[in-house]
Symmetry: C2
Subunit: 355 residues, 2 copies
Amino acid sequence: MIALAPGGTIGILGGGQLGRMLSIAAAQLGFDVAIFTDEPDSPASRVSARTMVANYLDHAALADFARRVDVVTTEFENVPAETAQALIDAGARVAPNPHALAVAQDRFDEKSYFASAGIAAPPFRAVASQGELDAALAEIGAPAILKTRRLGYDGRGQIRIDSADDARGAYAKLGAPGILEGFCAFECEVSIIAARGADGAVAFYDLNENEHKGGILSRTTLPARVSADVEAQAQDAARRVLEAFDYVGVLTIEFFVMADGSLIANEMAPRVHNSGHWTVEGALTSQFEQHIRAIAGWPLGPTTRAASIEMVNLIGADAGAWPALAADPDARVHLYGKRNTRAGRKMGHVTKLKY
Amino acid sequence: MIALAPGGTIGILGGGQLGRMLSIAAAQLGFDVAIFTDEPDSPASRVSARTMVANYLDHAALADFARRVDVVTTEFENVPAETAQALIDAGARVAPNPHALAVAQDRFDEKSYFASAGIAAPPFRAVASQGELDAALAEIGAPAILKTRRLGYDGRGQIRIDSADDARGAYAKLGAPGILEGFCAFECEVSIIAARGADGAVAFYDLNENEHKGGILSRTTLPARVSADVEAQAQDAARRVLEAFDYVGVLTIEFFVMADGSLIANEMAPRVHNSGHWTVEGALTSQFEQHIRAIAGWPLGPTTRAASIEMVNLIGADAGAWPALAADPDARVHLYGKRNTRAGRKMGHVTKLKY
């Protein structure tokens, strides 16, 4: 592809904080950004040249959006497949390609893909009834996690099952087609942020070590306390996914690190990721700029990390501590401009760098 | 003052690249930004929540703007004094205060202020006629520079006078009240970016060494090749200006460094400055965030520099080299989203860091 010249317009599906940070990165490279979102006054809209507020299934609006932008990307993986297809039908270039998006949207398809690509994943079974859940539990054994196949994020739509007792009525409680995954007794959790350019070049950021609380990312630190071999396994898996999908843009894979040093893939996100927010200050090219470079057909930038990193999420009421954070000389403060604070809602993050 | 909480609105007068970078910094701290500009589709508007396009002397528009923002600042020093006053009359808090703005707008007032504050400046005389120019030249001697008192920037409105011959007809050519300044045979040029918080705290960035071409900043490097004493002189001058004006925000002073190690103040800019663009990647707190912190009543952030710096401006057609710059792993590329390329127009800049 021919690289998109500065002055071109990047379209982003979604108006959240990832869109906000992508939009800022695009602006720094001289691009205009148009946001497509169903949310009026979204965090991303407020830093973008244009916004179209419409339903993600409004084909007329999507066709109009497609005409006004040079390339379309997404900031959340739950964009309906129909949305991406409508944009393509209207002549838009969509990156990453909708096939990767579709696979990442469905936990069963995702795990199936991992298995087919030789990427170790937890044991899993699709469950579409209580009977299938019981059978899956008998096969996989407890403890296990019952998850919705679709539309889960930040620990939502998940039920932990420690015994056959826990399984009773669990499918009805889930209320949607699910997947039962064997529980991994991991040593720690890591994620890799990887990117592939339109020219096929691949780049990796250093591995993130992640801590979750209540299913939500709480803290990311670098360097991760893992061996070079673990890092190589993560890079190998990411490269396989990027190449299999002819992927263009930033992709994230989350892994469990097991006691024997093996990696188990937990999930992939076809987008920039919370665990990569430290790259704004901590790497020569941020994950946001890297994604924009990739989808604009620019060469990837260097991912060199400049410091030791601690990134802490501000969840819900945490953001109320902004006066103390503003006064902490070690804290680089990021707030997302969300109008309402809710428990479990990502309101901002703080990055601390040690050179 | 009580610190402005995230979600508050920062008003910025002016829609250029400085407003664009201020707006991005404000967004990262969770603020909304409203731009007031007479230019439709300005670079700053395209990254800001709201824009009011109106003449800077439209009092009704200014009063409306004042009601919609929590604090107003400026991204260029040639905002009419009447504009700032109208905003204040309508109840707006304006930072930095309009007195500093007024002094910096007039080269004679500025040089007179330097003299009164004990800050060394070139010899200067106000000239309001050819007769006054001839008399001033006789006193100061050639070479000298004839400059307009007001509305000059990037070398515009300047005539070099090497002899009485050059002076002939020069006042008519200038076409406006002027100031004749003795020419300084400097060793090099430096600038200091300083900030003062609402709490009176003062912070300095490391000194910038600047090269100009045709009166326009071409290149800034750090560390500046000057002694600690030179740096101390610059800090002392900046501190005096900040305190004299009860200044809140970022202020820049440009100096000539003379062979004997003395500093001669060339001009001050009551704002963030091109020579401080490196702080986006190269300092813990960028000059843009620092300015927003100050005017929002937040504590100043640390100014620690993390690397050796080379910042090169992309002037006019220079920005056409973006494909090569995008491919240079050492170049952090910034483009301002200006629609039209003109000779002498600042289109972007590139920062190179060496850790």
